[in-house]
Symmetry: C2
Subunit: 276 residues, 2 copies
C-alpha cells in the first residue's frame, strides 16, 4: 500500500533516468512522482506517460513554469508560448498541476517590482489555456534568497494576492516548507490560502546551509518544524499528498535507493500527519 | 568636508584594527563609523571613544545586541545582562544607537515563534535601561536566510509590530538594503516606519551569491536598486547618514584603502540621495 507521499524526481536526478527513478519510487512505496521538464523530454512525453501509468503512480506536479521576466520584455512572448506548450505537456502526462515560479530578473535589470508585474502578466496570458486544459497552475512562492535569479515571488501573501487578482479559477498554491518556513505571517497566510492549497512540498533547512541552491536538507536533519506546518496546512483544508523535493549535493552523491528509503523513513517519523 | 556616509568597521575588519580603520575612514571622507563590540573591546572602551573623537567621526551604531534566544531559556538572563552592559558601552562611546538582531534558534530547537517571543521579551527587559541611558535600540530585520542562526526577526513588518507592541519610545528601526530589498511589502512598511527609521545600511546582493554570510556586494555590483529604496526612506522622513556594511571574502582580501575609495566612489555614483 503506497504512502501518501510523492517523490520530486529532481531529488535523484543525478542517480537515475526518469524510468529508473519512477520504478524505484513505486518500489519504495511512493504514491506519486513529480517530474521536471528536462527529464520528461529526455524520455519522451508519450513514453513518460506510459512509465507513470505502468508504475501506478500519480503525477503530483510538473516542474516548472513561470519565469516570465527572466529574458526581459523581448523574451516575454517566447516565455508565454513556452508555458503554453508546457500546459499541453502536463495534460499529456496527466500532471495534477504545473508548479509556477516567479523567475528572476532579466540580465542587467534591477527592477524587482517590474519582474513581479511581468509574472502576473504572464500567468494571466496562459491562464485561459490552463483552464481549458484543466491543468491547474500552482503558484509557488520561493525563498527570498532566490528573488534575484529564480523566484521574484517570495511570500505566500504575494502569491495569494496574485491569485486573487487573477480570479483564482485555474490557480492554486504550492507550499514548500523550505521556501516558506521562516515567514512570520505563515500561519495567517496558510489559513487564508485555504482550499487553494494544491501542493505541499517538504524539504528541511540545514544549519549551516553551505550553498544557496544545492544544500537543502532531508526532513529531520534541519530546523523546520514539519508537524507544525502540516497542522496549519490541514487546518486550511488540504490533507493531500506531500512531495519530497530535495536539491542536495550530499543526497545526489548517495545511492538512489538509500535516498528513497531515508525519505520514506523520515516521512513516516518526522512529517507524520497531524491527524494520524 | 566629510560625506554623509558611515563605515561599518566589519567591512575592513580583516585589514585593520579599530584605530587604523577609523583613521582611514576619516581620511577617505566618511563622516561616521559603526564599530563591532569585539573591536571595541580589543582596543578598550575608553581608548575607542578617544579614537572616535580624535578623528572627528560620529558613531552611527554599535553592533550588535539582541540574540536573546540563541542560548535557550537557561541562557536568557545572561543574554539580558549582556545586552544591558552593551548599552553602557554604547553610551561610553557615544554611539547613536545599538543595532539589535533577532538571533537564531537555540541549539536543537525548531521553535521559531518561540525564538521570536524571546526576542520581544529580551528587548522589553532592557528597554528601561536603554531609555535611561538615552541609547536607542535599532531593531534590524535580517534576511530570511538567517532566520535559523542569526536573525529570527526577518521582516520590517515584524520589527515594526514589535516596536508598536513595546511602545516605540527608545526604539527605532535599522533598514539594511541587503536584508530587506526582496520584500514585496517594502514600500508600505518603510512608509509605516516613518520617523522610526534611525539607521540606513547599504550593501548589494550579488548574483550569484556564493556564500550565505560572506559574499555580500559593493553597491553597484549587484541587483539592488539603491536610489529606489533611498527614495522610500527619505519619503518616510529619514534623510540621515547611510552606513556601508559589507561582509565579503573578496573585499576583505583587498587593501583597505582600495575598499574605502571604492565605497566612497560607489556611494556618490550609485547611492546618490534622491534629493540631490
Amino acid at each position: 500500500m503506497p504512502l501518501d507521499v510523492s517523490l520530486n524526481l529532481a531529488t535523484v536526478r543525478r542517480q537515475w533516468t526518469l524510468p529508473q527513478a519512477v520504478a524505484a519510487a513505486a518500489r519504495h512505496g511512493f504514491a506519486g512522482v513529480a517530474p521536471w521538464r528536462d527529464m520528461v523530454r529526455e524520455t519522451g512525453i508519450a513514453e513518460s506517460a506510459r512509465v507513470f501509468r505502468g508504475n501506478g503512480v500519480r503525477v503530483t506536479g510538473y516542474c516548472r513554469g513561470g519565469l516570465f521576466a527572466a529574458q526581459g520584455r523581448d523574451g516575454f512572448q517566447a516565455a508565454v508560448d513556452d508555458n503554453r506548450r508546457m500546459i499541453e505537456e502536463a495534460a499529456a502526462i496527466d500532471a495534477e498541476c504545473i508548479v509556477m515560479i516567479g523567475g528572476g530578473l532579466a540580465p542587467g535589470s534591477r527592477d524587482l517590482p517590474g519582474a513581479r508585474s511581468m509574472f502576473v502578466e504572464g500567468v494571466a496570458a496562459i491562464l485561459p489555456h490552463a483552464r481549458a486544459c484543466k491543468t491547474p497552475l500552482a503558484l509557488e512562492p520561493m525563498h527570498p534568497m532566490y528573488a534575484a535569479d529564480r523566484g521574484c515571488v517570495t511570500t505566500l501573501k504575494e502569491a495569494l494576492d496574485i491569485a486573487d487578482e487573477l480570479g483564482n479559477e485555474g490557480l492554486g498554491i504550492a507550499i514548500d516548507t523550505y521556501h516558506v518556513w521562516w515567514d512570520p505571517q505563515l500561519e495567517a497566510e496558510i489559513a487564508r490560502a485555504g482550499r487553494r492549497i494544491i501542493a505541499h512540498h517538504i524539504c528541511d533547512w540545514l544549519v549551516p546551509t553551505r550553498h544557496l541552491l544545492t544544500d537543502r536538507g532531508m526532513m529531520g536533519d534541519g530546523v523546520i518544524d514539519f508537524p507544525a506546518i502540516r497542522a496549519m496546512v490541514e487546518a486550511a483544508g488540504y490533507d493531500g499528498i506531500q512531495e519530497v523535493e530535495i536539491f542536495s549535493d550530499f543526497w545526489w552523491s548517495r545511492p538512489g535507493d538509500e535516498v528513497l528509503a531515508t525519505a520514506i523513513e523520515r516521512f513516516t517519523t518526522v512529517c507524520r500527519r497531524c491527524r494520524d
